[in-house]
Amino acid sequence: MTSAALFATSAALGLLVLLGGAYGVLYALGAARSSPSLTGAGYACYAGQLLLVLVVCLGSPLASLWKLFMAVSGVVYGFIPPATWRLLDSIHHNQLQ
């Protein structure tokens, strides 16, 4: 791997997870405050993350196994915030009853 590719790939991977985190935070904030604009910003971050996955898959020198992993985990990231939120809500809800 050339040093330029090393730097770019690593930065993309870090940004990818960071965008995933931003999606999680914004989605959860949006849900907590019932604010569609925050939830929307969350989805925008997720869209950015998917775009980065695409860039990494097409442009990075990573082995195809890792590109496949990126693509699958990119999809999984999408489900985690809503699923976690629903799970938390259902546990809390059961608890209140």
Binding site: A28, S73, I80
Partner: protein, 465 residues
């Protein structure tokens, strides 16, 4: 207050003191990079480094042990069984740490013989403490296991959190036995060394802090037992599912077979996913309980824990964990950057949160707030982020100039270390280290002062009524 809880407070005092020693040794280690002639042949880099990383392990361990001694009698409604042994061993533990520190400072290292291994310095990263002291650590941990299990047995009561804790303490004690052998083959040595280092830090400690956070959340936000236990079980499953084989990312380059590149890469690349769930959980709790908490410092430190863990372990880890990148990043300041952020987020913030939680109970203050905790919180986190930022730049400089372009020889190492990016980054790291140290002083001041004034003020206000 139970005797066990008084012991917890003593453990916290020792932990915070060692946290200070760790920072001082860390600042000194950082200074060598700026002025390599410093204390040359008198007190060299390796000894400052040893003090820095060994006190890191011990202060966190003391924080954990203290926290368990605090929560245990509350959980079971009775005094801890064999508390006098625990009290005795606390002093033995502190004395042993002091003796080892003095030997590290004065004697430093010994000759090539078994005597050195037993009494001076074992020279294995994180477990440099001589064997006699390692025996002491095992004794302390075993007593601790005995205290916890015997108390549960006598109380005839077991809770989910306690059950997980007891099951976790067994490997915690057993894995430490790896602090003793001297294995000739470096590949085998590092293979088992990672069982100790990784399994302690990324498995048993992870579960231990999970148990402590479960108890803390019940106290701090009144979260119900069922909820925290459900989360704890999920966490244990994730640790068993990904953490154990995540061990594989340490087996890329130590002379172990090539299949570890795929296994280790895969399982450690999974790591950000559960951390994302935790971040969502933190925001959920913040949204649900923010207004109710009476302990803002503890609450903010818990939040710092969730976010620090996500960025330090998740983002920084993912940047460098795939083998193709790790080939260049491994063993540079990049690793140091990740290590600092992850340790801070995963453990240090949690231990500080628990200390605030405990202080609120001991000082029974209605108004548990201050200005100093904000200074401590702000400066420590700012200092940490600045340090890891500097280290990240230094590490990337090494990965590019020493590894990818230079070919990792001595001359390549020197060229990268003399690169302006690297040198500036080292200055930045030191300056932010000072910021971090200032934050420490604010933290210590606040831990001593918070809640006291309010406790005194309360009766005066109540008097006229």
């Amino acid at each position: 207050m139970y005797r066990s809880q008084k012991l917890a407070l003593r453990y916290f005092i020792a932990a915070i003191t060692l946290f200070g020693v760790m920072i001082a040794a860390g600042l000194l280690s950082a200074l060598y990079y700026i002025d390599p002639a410093l204390l040359y042949n008198v007190f060299d880099f390796q000894m400052a480094k040893i003090l820095h990383i060994d006190t890191l392990i011990i202060w966190l361990l003391m924080g954990f042990i203290g926290a368990v001694y605090w929560f245990l009698p509350k959980e079971l409604g009775r005094e801890v069984v064999g508390i006098w042994v625990a009290e005795l061993l606390f002093y033995v533990f502190c004395s042993a740490v002091a003796v080892v520190a003095v030997v590290f400072v004065v004697v430093q290292y010994g000759g090539s013989n078994e005597f050195s291994m037993w009494f001076i310095n074992q020279g294995r990263k994180y477990v440099e403490a001589p064997r006699w002291a390692a025996v002491g650590v095992v004794a302390v941990v075993l007593t601790f296991v005995f205290n916890v299990t015997a108390t549960a047995w006598q109380a005839r009561r077991i809770t989910g959190v306690l059950g997980v804790l007891i099951l976790d303490l067994v490997p915690l004690a057993v894995l430490y036995l790896d602090a003793f052998p001297k294995i000739t083959n470096m590949s085998h040595d590092l293979y088992w060394w990672w069982w100790l280092v990784h399994m302690w830090v990324e498995a048993t400690w992870e579960v231990l802090i999970g148990c402590l956070m479960a108890w803390s959340l019940m106290e701090l936000m009144g979260t119900s037992r069922r909820i925290v236990e459900t989360w704890l079980y999920i966490e244990v499953m994730l640790v068993l599912g990904t953490g154990i084989l995540g061990l594989g990312h340490h087996y890329f380059w130590i002379g172990t077979p090539q299949y570890w590149l795929s296994i280790g890469g895969f399982f450690s690349a999974l790591e950000p996913l559960p951390l994302l769930g935790m971040v969502v959980h933190a925001v959920y709790d913040a949204g649900t309980h923010h207004m109710k908490t009476t302990n803002r410092p503890a609450f903010y430190w818990v939040l710092a824990e969730a976010f620090g863990n996500f960025i330090g372990a998740g983002v920084f880890g993912f940047m460098m964990t795939l083998p193709q990148i790790n080939l260049y990043s491994h063993g540079t300041q990049w690793t140091v950057s990740h290590g600092h952020f992850a340790f801070w987020g995963a453990y240090a913030c949690g231990v500080i949160a628990i200390m605030y939680l405990v202080l609120q109970r001991t000082r029974s203050a209605e108004h548990f707030d201050s200005r100093a905790w904000k200074w401590g919180f702000g400066l420590l986190n700012l200092g940490l982020v600045g340090m890891v930022g500097g280290l990240l730049i230094a590490g990337i400089t090494q990965a590019i100039y020493e590894r990818a372009e230079g070919g990792s020889t001595l001359q390549a190492f020197v060229a990268a270390s003399e690169h302006p990016w690297f040198r500036s980054a080292m200055y930045a790291r030191f300056i932010f280290g000072i910021v971090f140290a200032l934050g420490y002083f604010a933290l210590v001041y606040d831990l001593l002062a918070i809640g006291r004034r309010a406790a005194v003020a309360a009766p005066t206000q109540a008097a006229p009524a």
